[in-house]
Symmetry: none
Subunit: 188 residues, 4 copies
DNA sequence: CATGAATGAGCATTCATTCAT
DNA sequence: GATGAATGAATGCTCATTCAT
């Protein structure tokens, strides 16, 4: 099992990096095989098909992101918690640009099944809890949860893309301004 | 010339719809051909390659979006102008979901060349002018232009995606709240 | 008729040059059209098909070669006549390398019909007459005509190819040696 | 390795025969595939492209020819050696008319790269040695090596083509005359 | 007659997937 | 289990030829 999960991990990492650079459809399985040192046969032993591999990688990454988001999260002060979540999310993305690239490609690709998207949605439940708390405590505007999630997510991702694409280097100062912008959007 | 631009238009529309539904890489030229009633040879008469077709379609669409954004725009009241632009952009996207789908797919796809992206960037110059005016008149926060563009764009697109995906139906009331959210992010 | 034969000539010359450089099968009719300034429709008005065009060009060129071969030919001295023919043939080829390139490509290409090859064979009848005279006058060895033709032709073409390919620059002196070599092969 | 070279050999033989009959450009890879029983994918597994396949086949054949030329070659008597080489070359060609057809098509085709032609040129080094020996021993005329090679090669090929095309059946007697003709061209 | 846009069969090549070893 | 050669359907693209204008 150790070997097996190792291989899964190797395949995941290789596929992620290749897809981030070459794109979802310019990354043949044979390339994943040669770059990872895992034979195509072995890849197909671990993943039924390319579609399955990519869907599972998508899930894997979504989980990783949401785990990172709550690192060091402290429930005491709401605004502080908001800052932590925003910042964690942002830094994870800029430290893992290949993850962002992969996730963005998947966001519209028909290869990701609806059931996968639904499954991935479960990872945001802690975030939903946090938002609901903000609403019920009259800290956040009483918008629909999806509305609030969309604003936060789109702002973080937009800033991460600006930073990674070098269109705007997000210093600590600018990051603080961006968090403030998101906050002003949503606070009551 | 009439016939020519007609064919281009037909190919553009067909490709747009097919790609929106099937994806950039699940839309073979033969499908564009059969669905449009234009032979593959004729498509290649108008567009050097699939890559060229998609790059030109991307440019075409970016122009269309930015033309739509300034429809009925009035310079008198700044906030009113902001509302108009936001709303125009949003309504164009939800009325043309295939455009949004296509544009989103292109946003990360390596098939779009950097030179195309740069060429497309020129279309936002009126928007940049509007933002600069807001900053110089002490109406908007003095953020980097790219920062402000990113916030506005990401918010509009996020709301349009919520609406189109039926995760949240954006009524006039919610639209007003979303505009307000973007505005609060950016106003001084 | 003048206009017509003009166009034929233009098409012939263009096709010859293009085929010499790009090869028989890398020379699309559209290229012949654009390079010659004659529309594809007009080309097809003059030549039923690409095959017909090439077959007629082949015939045209074979005739041209054989006309050149007897320029300044004088029946008085047999050896002198042999020299003239050999030299004429050789100089025509090195002065028209595109003709040689085209002819060589056609020599093995299935696009040239047998009937065309037979028709082209008629042009060598003066040469056959000259050879038969040499045999009957006990100047040449009494070989089969095809044998003698093959030796002369292959030697001239081989020397022309050496010269054009720059593998050996055929000076007047070397040319004289080559003629001598052919002559020694065949003389009684 | 055995399987591998087997497949290469099968592909080579099939391609050679098909190209000899249909021509270099009327032999689609799909035909090579169906005629050889090797799937297109497998052909592309062994040869990067059609161009590579043809270039490698060209090299393969040139080597085969030059190996055949020195079969039974004996250094003792120079004239005897000349006869052997000439005859070996000639008989190899008439026994392998497809090789001749293929080689002739390649001789002018742009698909054969210059680097391939240069690589193929190395095979004639034993022949060059033989010719140089003839010159230094005052048996052959002191012509340029390329001159002598061209005469011999062009004569052998011309005779082989006469024979194969049935324009002249080369009996043993005629072959002896042809060798004699070449010899008289070149001997001192 | 001339034009050149349009046609569509045909080709080289790719790549997800299988399966004999 | 693991391997990677083999499969072959599918794709982007070409080009000889036609025909409406």
């Amino acid at each position: 099992m150790n070997v097996r999960s190792n291989k899964r991990e190797i395949i995941f990492n290789t596929a992620l990096d290749l897809i981030a650079v070459h794109g979802l459809h310019n990354t043949p399985m044979s390339l994943v095989s040669s770059a990872s040192g895992v034979s195509t046969g072995a890849i197909y032993h671990h993943f039924e098909s390319k579609e399955v591999l990519i869907n599972e990688l998508y899930l894997h990454i979504k989980e990783e992101i949401h785990r990172a988001v709550f690192t060091g999260f402290d429930d005491t002060d709401y605004r502080e918690g908001f800052n932590t979540i925003w910042s964690n999310y942002f830094h994870f993305l800029i430290q893992h640009p290949n993850v962002l690239s992969f996730a963005e490609q998947c966001s519209t690709a028909p290869i990701i099944k609806n059931s996968t998207r639904q499954e991935a949605a479960q990872f945001i439940s802690p975030l939903i809890g946090f938002i609901q708390k903000g609403i019920s405590e009259k800290i956040l505007m009483p918008h629909d949860i999806n509305f609030i999630l969309a604003i936060i997510n789109s702002n973080v991702v937009a800033m991460a893309k600006l930073h990674i694409s070098h269109h705007l280097t997000i210093t600590e100062e600018i990051e603080a301004q961006a968090i403030e912008a998101s906050w002003k959007s949503l606070k009551l």
